[in-house]
Structure formats: structure tokens, C-alpha cells
């Protein structure tokens, strides 16, 4: 299991389109993927789940990966967050 913290850097926050990209990336991997914000932990493969967090710019999320390809998923996901969901 890998746990890592990421920050939301883009202005619009984790809105519908990035949420959709996040679940699409996660769906390509076998590993389980969870996102946690302010004590609320949701399944990162569910778009409704990811959107429930309503993560705003500047907020910190914990990403949790668990499964055979967790390392690869973690790298791709972390990079996607760091790039500001390609909205920067």
C-alpha cells in the first residue's frame, strides 16, 4: 500500500472534468485507489465519489493505492495532480 499527499493547484479545483480524468486513469489499473479529504475517504474509481469531496484550490488530499500495479498508478496520478489536471 502506498499513501501520498497531493495538493490541488489549479484554480477551478477538482471539478467534473478532472474528476472524470482521474477515474479514467484509475480504471486502467488493477490496484484499488482511494482519496481522502478532511476525514472523508472515497473510492477513487467512482466519479461521484471523487466529486463528493468538492476539493478546492489549495486543499490537500491523501491518495491511497493498494494492489499489484500500485506504484505505476501512484506515479501517473501524482503527476496528473501536480500538472494541475493539465489546466495550468
Amino acid at each position: 500500500m502506498i499513501k501520498t499527499d497531493v495538493k490541488i493547484v489549479n484554480k477551478a479545483g477538482m471539478h467534473t472534468r478532472p474528476a472524470s480524468s482521474i477515474v479514467k486513469i484509475a480504471a486502467r489499473y488493477k490496484a484499488d485507489f482511494f482519496v481522502e479529504k478532511d476525514g472523508m475517504k472515497v473510492n477513487g474509481k467512482s466519479i461521484i465519489g471523487v466529486m463528493t469531496l468538492a476539493a478546492e484550490q489549495g486543499s490537500t488530499l491523501e491518495l491511497i493505492f493498494d494492489g499489484p500495479d500500485e506504484k505505476e498508478l501512484c506515479e501517473e496520478m501524482k503527476s496528473f495532480f501536480e500538472r494541475g489536471f493539465d489546466e495550468m
Partner: protein, 347 residues
């Protein structure tokens, strides 16, 4: 333990702000704030219990639960009225030297000017309500119990099927949302899809609801986001429901043994509440929606005292006993067909 229930994270509020309390309860309990100062930002309520400060006013402050909501009923108010001016000042000064979060005067009682002056000095908001003390205590306890209850977000779909709360769990993509949609189409009611917030109510009750953001929206793969309330109307949705049966959907695993008789009820512990759980293997051609309806109806049967598995077991045991005793018609009755012909009825 199913994956979606294995590592649920409990959320528990450490406090609610007094400001939040007032906003939520103003209309609910007919509260009016009568202190002139604004509620201090950062003034928190950390206790879900209430306190009637009779003894503290009388001078016994050893175990004074000052950090709870303070309820002044007729007793407290009349006691204060009875005191001489000097006694009253002493009593109230001592009382307000504790960090009281808020005070409520019930039954239309009005606090005296001394109370209001001291409360304002110490930044303690004082409220009045026409509600009777015992009634208010019971209503407030309910509200605070709910606010401070243990909660958790579960990745699942939650539907009211014939009045029974069925919570569908299972891996991403197994078809929880599709079954939910099918059930809604057949006239059942959606509570929440994908993210269900469960909270413990009373000792043995688990309540489930959606989040205020997502309520009654759901995602269908290949289609996107849809609004169930809009499409199917008011009859298709509800806000909250008691969780009664957990249905765990999984792909058929031939190495696993599934319940065949229904004699054993499997229980699972969620937030300290035991809930019945059914493992439902999915394979092509299986109508999970109908099975879900039958799960709900069978649950109701059991609730009303009829357990099909037990009734059948009893019949079987009787027949075995008959066969063993070699009763006269044992051979004939052994494989007796269930036929009952009416006269000339050969249909």
C-alpha cells in the same frame, strides 16, 4: 469482509460551533437569541449531553458539567427569582466563571437583566424557547446524538425496496448502479448511489443517506451523470433510510460456497451495529433485480415471523421421522405428489 466495507473510515465530529447550532436549531426548536452580542466565532460545543444546572446554582459545583448546553427550566428560573439581590449576584458570578457554551431558557421563561449582562460579558449566548423543558430535552438530545454520531462513507448503492433498506456493495464496475436503476424503474426508491453516508443511531440502528451535494444524482457508465429525481419524479427518491440488509455483489467464484438453505443469517458489524449480509454471486442471465426484490420480501416475511427455511426444515424433519418409524403409509407418502383433484377436474 467485502472490500468496500473492509477499510471504511469512521468520521466523528469533535465539536459543532455554537453558530452552526443556532442556525440549525432556530426554527426547529423555536429558539430566539436574547443576548445582544453576536455569537463569538470559534465558540464550540463539544458535548452531546445536556445539563440542568440546579445544583451548580445552589452552590455545589464539584461535578458541574459546565461544558454542556445549559437548560434553565421553571425550577432554575424560579430559584433565581427567589434569591435576594446580593445572593443573586454571587450565584450568577460564580456560575458564569465557568466556560459555559450556551444557555437556553425553556417554557417562555425570560432571564433577568443580571443574567443577560453577565452572559454578554463572558460571551455566552442566551436563548429562549416556548418549548417545555422535558420536550426540549428530548428533541435536543435527538439532534445532538445525530450530530455527534459516528459516521462513515461507504462505496455502495442504497435503495428502499418495499420499505426495506438494501445496501448494495461490490467492486467498481460490478453493476451496482445498473441494478439500482433497474429497481427504481420498477417503482423502488433511491436513497443514494456511489457514496452512502451511514451513521449510527440509537444502539442498534444504522441510518444511510446521500451527501447534500450528490443527492439523487448518479453515474451510469457510458451515459454519464443523470438526475433520478428529475427523470423518475418524487416517488423515486427519499432522503434517508435505515440500513437493513447488505447485499454484496461478486462475480461467481466456484471455489467459494454460497448460502443454499437460508437457515444461517450472516451478520456484519458496521460502526458497531450488526446488519444482515447476503453474498450474491453474479453470472450471465441472472436477474439480480428480481432477486433483490425477493431478498426484501423474504426479509419482511422473517420480520413478520415466517422463516421459509425453518418451516421447510421442520417439514423435512417430520417426514424423516415418519419414514424412520415405519408408519403404515410411510411408503406411499414417501414421494407423495402434491396433487389435489377436484371432481372431474383433469386439467
Amino acid at each position: 469482509m467485502p472490500d468496500s466495507l473492509k477499510d471504511i473510515k469512521e468520521i466523528k465530529k469533535e465539536f459543532i460551533t455554537v453558530d452552526f447550532f443556532y442556525n440549525e436549531c432556530r426554527d426547529r426548536f423555536k429558539l430566539t437569541k436574547i443576548t445582544s452580542k453576536k455569537i463569538k466565532p470559534g465558540l464550540n460545543l463539544t458535548e452531546k449531553n445536556l445539563h440542568r444546572p440546579g445544583l451548580a446554582l445552589a452552590g455545589f459545583v464539584d461535578l458541574f458539567a459546565f461544558n454542556r448546553i445549559q437548560i434553565f427550566g421553571n425550577t432554575e428560573n424560579n430559584y433565581l427569582k427567589k434569591l435576594s439581590a446580593k445572593e443573586k449576584t454571587n450565584t450568577l458570578t460564580r456560575y458564569f466563571s465557568f466556560a459555559v457554551p450556551l444557555v437556553i431558557f425553556t417554557d417562555n421563561n425570560k432571564p433577568t437583566s443580571e443574567v443577560l449582562k453577565l452572559a454578554d460579558e463572558k460571551d455566552v449566548p442566551v436563548f429562549t424557547t416556548p418549548v417545555h423543558t422535558t420536550r426540549l430535552v428530548s428533541l435536543l438530545s435527538d439532534f445532538l446524538d445525530d450530530q455527534f454520531s459516528v459516521q462513515a462513507a461507504i462505496h455502495s448503492s442504497f435503495v428502499d425496496v418495499y420499505g426495506v433498506g438494501l445496501l448494495f456493495c461490490g467492486k467498481s464496475g460490478i453493476g451496482k448502479s445498473e441494478i439500482t436503476l433497474d429497481l427504481i424503474e420498477r417503482g423502488h426508491r433511491l436513497v443514494a448511489d456511489d457514496v452512502v453516508i451511514v451513521s449510527k443511531k440509537a444502539e442498534n440502528v444504522l441510518m444511510g443517506s446521500g451527501t447534500s451535494l450528490v443527492k439523487h444524482f448518479m453515474e451510469i457508465r457510458g451515459l454519464g451523470i443523470i438526475d433520478i429525481g428529475r427523470i423518475f419524479g418524487i416517488r423515486a427518491i427519499r432522503y434517508q433510510k435505515r440500513v437493513e440488509v447488505i447485499v454484496e455483489l461478486e462475480t461467481w467464484d466456484s471455489s467459494k460456497s454460497y448460502e443454499r438453505t437460508g437457515l444461517d443469517t450472516h451478520l456484519i458489524n458496521i460502526l458497531g451495529v450488526e446488519i444482515e449480509k447476503i453474498n450474491l454471486p453474479i453470472s450471465p442471465g441472472k436477474n439480480i433485480t428480481v432477486i433483490a426484490e425477493v431478498i426484501a420480501l423474504n426479509y419482511l416475511c422473517k420480520h413478520y415471523g415466517y422463516n421459509a427455511a425453518k418451516v421447510f426444515e421442520k417439514k423435512l424433519t417430520n417426514r424423516i421421522r415418519q419414514n424412520k418409524n415405519g408408519s403404515p403409509n410411510a411408503v406411499e407418502s414417501k414421494f407423495k405428489r402434491n396433487t389435489e383433484y377436484f371432481e372431474h377436474d383433469f386439467e
